[in-house]
């Protein structure tokens, strides 16, 4: 219900602003539209600038998660134990295809996994901090040439960054999505969370363009109730 009220409040922000701001060059966005799938499936992000700079408390929580996972106890992970949304940035590791729809007011990420979606606000407005953040947080975006730049913030602290790494509700995720050729998409991510890490850290994920076809009706709870893992476990 809170998220629903938030939706109404956000609509109000647009109304209060009295104007809808369109991106400078919507045509630049067309090329990333399409269906994509992670090129190298993974459960975890691989930092590109050294080890993850954990604070001491976060390191302890991470190691606890590691130990629990090794014993098959996923109670620390609401996605693996309940099918809750993996949220941002973990959705960047989604094992199933996803589709990007580019439209003037919003860019929609449509995931085959459990039929999830995430929208990036392209109107240029700013968000007020919510009472409680959702798993996907709030994402605002703009174009820098043909690179889609997204700032995500106001996340729930109940999600994980990937299969093991915790974060706080202070986390900010900056993303830069750009093509590396017609059929390869790269997402450069920067994780900033002073409550969990001693400095911002970086990672990147690469996707391969897929044929355009309908997504199957994926119902995670059915898979969970059948004894299957909601997300595949891929060893680091």
């Amino acid at each position: 219900m809170i998220s629903n009220l938030r939706g109404y409040a956000l609509a109000g922000v647009v109304m209060a602003a009295g104007a809808v701001v369109l991106p400078a060059d919507p045509a630049a966005a067309v090329s990333i539209e399409g269906t994509w799938k992670i090129s190298t499936p993974a459960s975890s992000f691989t930092p590109t600038d050294g080890p993850i700079p954990f604070t001491a408390d976060t390191k302890k929580q991470y190691e606890d998660n590691q130990a629990a996972s090794a014993k098959g106890d996923f109670s620390f992970d609401r996605t693996q134990s309940r099918c809750s949304s993996p949220g941002v940035p973990r959705l960047a590791l989604t094992p199933l295809p996803f589709r990007i729809w580019v439209r003037p007011l919003a860019i929609t990420f449509q995931y085959e996994w459990n039929r999830l979606n995430r929208t990036v606000d392209m109107t240029g407005r700013t968000f007020a901090a919510p009472f409680a953040g959702p798993a996907i947080g709030f994402s605002e975006g703009h174009w820098e040439g043909s690179t889609l730049v997204i700032k995500g913030q106001y996340f729930s602290e109940d999600t994980l960054i990937d299969d093991l790494v915790p974060h706080s509700d202070s986390m900010v995720v900056d993303e830069r999505l750009h093509l590396k050729g017609a059929n390869t998409l790269e997402d450069d991510l920067t994780i900033t969370d002073p409550d969990s890490f001693t400095r911002p850290w970086h990672t990147k994920v690469t996707y391969t363009r897929q044929p355009d076809q309908a997504f199957a009706e994926d119902v995670c709870l059915d898979r969970l109730n059948a004894g299957q893992m909601p997300l595949p476990l891929i060893k680091r």
């Binding site: 809808v20 109940d158 076809q213 009706e217 709870l221």
Partner: protein
């Protein structure tokens, strides 16, 4: 045009009934000796009243009243381009108890019995579990009728409809050869254009569905036909006429109409994560709802 004629019929029927009521009131209870005798009051549908929660509220979610910003994008001028964000702008009816002509849905005895049982379960504060309460795709038209936005994206051979609630997805196949052969919660939707009206036939549900909050039934064998067109009546809407053909529970097909307003600002979906509660096995995730007795809907 058909809708307008139907509304006219409904109004006409209402006027005739009101005049008849006035005449009976003038006669008085029982009527004068030797005069007209009022017809007996029909109590056969007393068990099909909407659930108490709906009375006086007009539905749980009132329509959004915020106007569309003056410089907001408008729908495409092409009547066959339905892309954008749309929201059911009428109050949500807990019970769809009127058809397009204002008449009672044509329940057969089995449908009547099942709906009455569901309404009684609500009145008894022991409502039955359903797809919505278990965080599963609820099927059409429930998925559309909730007053939350949905997004339409059109491709050459396919229309994807993304719903905020239940993070729902309906795929409309414009090429029947592309459609899956297996049953699904939402069923398989196949579309074609009839002039500027998109006609979508949905069938092949893996389970029976509830078509509204109170539990008006549709079997897994139901065929749901929706005629969808864009209309501008001082503001853009999608007008969807839904026809339910389901001999399991109804004596003949019946139809109703809903309008869904153009809401470009609602492209920014709020998160819907029912799995957080329903998937938590450490709690009683049924939230007081009880399983519906199986195979108990025979007349």
């Amino acid at each position: 045009m058909r809708f307008a004629l139907s509304r006219l019929r409904a109004v006409t029927v209402g006027l005739v009934m009101a005049l008849a009521s006035t005449a009976l009131a003038q006669i008085g209870p029982g009527g004068p000796p030797g005069g007209l005798t009022p017809p007996p009051v029909d109590h056969s549908f007393d068990d099909l009243k909407p659930s108490p929660n709906a009375i006086g509220l007009g539905g749980i979610f009132p329509p959004l009243a915020t106007p569309v910003p003056p410089n907001a994008p408008q729908p495409a001028s092409d009547p066959r381009d339905l892309e954008g964000a749309w929201v059911h702008t009428e109050s949500l009816s807990f019970l769809i108890d009127k058809d397009i002509d204002g008449m009672r849905p044509p329940y057969n005895p089995r449908g009547h019995k099942l709906l009455a049982k569901r309404l009684k379960s609500i009145a008894d504060s022991k409502p039955f579990l359903n797809a919505s309460s278990t965080c599963h795709p609820p099927g059409l038209p429930w998925q559309q009728d909730l007053n939350f936005p949905f997004l339409i994206f059109q491709s050459k051979n396919r229309i994807d409809v993304l719903y905020q609630e239940y993070h729902g997805l309906q795929t409309i196949y414009m090429n029947p050869a592309d459609a899956p052969k297996t049953a699904s919660y939402m069923g398989t939707s196949i579309g074609h254009w009839d002039g500027d009206t998109l006609v979508v036939v949905t069938k092949g549900m893996k389970n029976p569905i509830w078509i509204d909050v109170d539990g008006t039934p549709a079997s897994a064998n139901a065929v749901i036909t929706q005629r969808i067109r864009k209309v501008d009546e001082g503001g853009w809407s999608l007008r969807i006429e839904t026809t339910l053909d389901d001999p399991t529970y109804y004596t003949h097909p019946w139809s109703w109409v809903r309008d869904f307003g153009w809401r470009p600002e609602d492209q920014i979906f709020s998160e819907y994560d029912c799995e957080t509660q329903v998937g938590d096995k450490s709690n009683n995730s049924n939230a007081g709802l009880v399983p519906e007795p199986a195979a108990d809907d025979k007349p």
